[in-house]
């Protein structure tokens, strides 16, 4: 097997093909009782010639980039090359055979023998055409199959790439609804409270910047993520005003812990979108970060109910789960459940990292 592996497929095909051709010829000669040393000699010469010329033919095909041409040109080139090479083979075969015969026999009688060269050349060419045609057919079909297989692989590769990109956009996904609502609020604030409007623009640009940068990093210090969430909630507060209450319960030691960027942000956004914005009288969003059972726990609680649509909408939730799985494997997990009857709690458990 290892020997075959080192020989290029092309040469395997060459020897196997011409070898088979030779065997068939020998077989026929044997059955019709024409087999003798002269025949064997001739067939060996012919095979050597065949291999050599078909190899040259391949060089020509490659040099002319025949396989990449449009189909009409390919067919035309295919026929043209086959005809030209069978003529060349026929000619060479005839002259070589005569030359060899003359050498071997070296008798004046043989040299004097009248030979109709043109007839012989045409006959031999005709024979060669048959072989060259089959050779070319195999060559073209082989490459055609290879090409279509390669195309299949390329399509698959492209599909995975698209999925990967999708994941990336999910990662940096900020709800456009939020952005435009925030801009609308800011425009109203410009007259009402210019100072707050200026602050809001800073907050919004912080969020946009970090969402653009987030796909370059695997993890960020929790403090950085928390600042984004604070900016985000400050903006949502402009929109919801008294309907949104915000509470933080942060263990300061967790601030250095690495967390996946925009993950807490996604959960808080969900809490607003599915929780607070659905409540007529609004509600509370509470963010908790603490060490518990040797793990770093990130919790987002919001007023509301865990409804079917929440799960079906799982855009943020599935991507959260997938990201945790990719980054930490079994060491992290994500749960979402309803507690105390009117609160939804999303909890991310992360492994504790030793931070210098």
């Amino acid at each position: 097997m290892s020997v075959f592996k080192r020989i290029p497929t092309y040469w395997l095909f060459q020897f196997f093909g011409w070898g088979l051709c030779m065997l068939v010829n020998v077989f026929y000669a044997y059955t019709f009782d024409k087999f003798n040393s002269k025949f064997l000699y001739g067939i060996l010469v012919y095979m050597a010639l065949g291999i050599m010329l078909s190899h040259i033919m391949r060089l020509v095909i490659n040099k002319a980039n025949m396989l990449t041409k449009p189909i009409e040109q390919q067919i035309f080139g295919f026929i043209f090359i086959t005809v030209v090479f069978s003529l060349v083979t026929g000619m060479l075969e005839t002259f070589l055979w005569n030359y060899l015969t003359w050498l071997r026999e070296a008798s004046p009688a043989a040299s004097k023998k009248q030979v109709n060269y043109s007839k012989l050349v045409i006959g031999n060419s005709f024979n060669s055409f048959f072989y060259m045609f089959i050779w070319n057919c195999i060559y073209y079909i082989y490459h055609y199959v290879q090409k279509s297989r390669r195309q299949q692989v390329d399509t698959l590769k492209l599909e995975t790439l698209v999925k990967e990109l999708e994941l990336k956009t999910i990662k940096s996904h900020i709800n456009p609804h939020f952005i435009f609502n925030a801009l609308n609020s800011i425009r109203a604030l410009i007259d009402e409270n210019p100072l707050r409007a200026r602050g809001a623009i800073t907050e919004l640009s912080n969020i946009l910047r970090s969402s653009m940068q987030s796909d370059k990093l695997e993890t960020v210090p929790f403090e950085r993520e928390l600042n984004i969430v604070k900016d985000y909630l400050a903006l949502e507060y402009i929109r919801f005003e008294d309907r949104l209450k915000i509470e933080y319960d942060i263990d300061e030691d967790t601030l250095d812990q690495p967390v996946p960027p925009m993950m807490l942000q996604t959960l808080v956004e969900n809490a607003i979108k599915h929780g607070i914005s659905k409540q007529l009288s609004g509600g509370t969003v509470k963010i908790i970060s603490d060490f518990r059972y040797n793990h770093h726990e990130l919790v987002v609680q919001n007023t509301g109910h865990l409804t079917g649509s929440y799960n079906a909408d799982g855009f943020g939730l599935t991507s959260t789960q997938n990201r945790l799985q990719l980054l930490f494997g079994e060491k992290a997990n994500f749960t979402i459940k309803e507690i105390n009857g009117n609160t939804v709690e999303a909890k991310v458990v992360l492994p504790v990292a030793a931070v210098a």
Binding site: P176, N181, R187, I238
Partner: protein
């Protein structure tokens, strides 16, 4: 003067729209609502000419709110970015503004409204003032899953009772609305809409063929191809109405 109501759950968004509307002196903002329930109440008491309506609101969406009204006012939707709503807009060519609202787009929307109002005024100058009854030029808002329509009553061929719902037939569509046939019958103009039997109300102007049927009843074929049987009792009434 056009009397308008703004319904949006964000105070700042309402303020912003009010501010933009200062440039249109013909529009007077007479009330505001912070959610769908407040909106329903204001629309029913004030009966405005125009409603600026946000889609995403706590409790009920703007679409849900409209579907509850017997008669839909002129509506200009306002939304920040909502793929679901945008799709509904594009399918049905409803008028909408994207927040933050571009003043030029607002002007276009109001211009379109003027043209529509003029058309309606010339069309029904002799309109009965009875606001309780629905006139055939009045429109209803119909929502069915992802799709929604404003439908003029004179485009509706048929109402069919399906439990507590009524199926509304217009064009190629037949969505369900949460209204009983009896409630509908009370509000519909009996000169145009006729109760053919227990399950159907038909639009008399959209009947294609009338044929006699068993037991002295009638079979109506509507313009959309639906075949509706007229009960024996109603046949008498039907003949009375049609025979001057």
């Amino acid at each position: 003067m056009i009397r308008a109501i703004i319904i949006d759950d964000e105070r700042l968004a309402r303020n912003e729209l009010r501010k933009l509307l200062i440039d249109f002196p013909e529009i007077e903002v007479v009330a505001e609502g912070a959610n769908a329930n407040e909106g329903l109440e204001k629309i029913e008491t004030i009966n405005p000419d125009l409603v600026f309506l946000d889609i995403q609101m706590p409790g009920k969406t703007g679409f849900d709110m409209l579907a509850e009204l017997d008669k839909a006012p002129h509506v200009i939707f306002t939304t920040a970015y909502d793929e679901y709503a945008l799709k509904a807009f594009e399918v049905n060519a409803l008028d909408y503004l994207l927040k933050p609202v571009e003043p030029r787009r607002l002007a276009d929307a109001i211009q379109k409204l003027h043209i529509q109002e003029e058309k309606e005024q010339s069309a029904n100058s002799e309109v009965n003032i009875n606001r309780e009854m629905l006139h055939e030029d009045d429109q209803v808002f119909v929502k069915d899953g992802e799709r929604c329509w404003f439908v003029k009553l004179n485009e509706i061929r048929l109402f069919e009772s399906v439990g507590n719902y009524a199926k509304v037939f217009f064009g190629p569509n037949k969505p369900l609305i949460l209204k009983s046939l009896n409630a509908l019958e009370e509000r519909l103009d009996e000169k145009t809409f006729f109760r053919a039997n227990r399950k159907h109300i038909v639009n008399l102007r959209l009947i294609d063929k009338i044929e006699p049927y068993f037991n002295g009843g009638l079979l109506l074929e509507m313009k959309g191809g639906e075949k509706i049987e007229v009960s024996r009792r109603q046949t008498v009434k039907f003949k009375e109405m049609m025979s001057l």
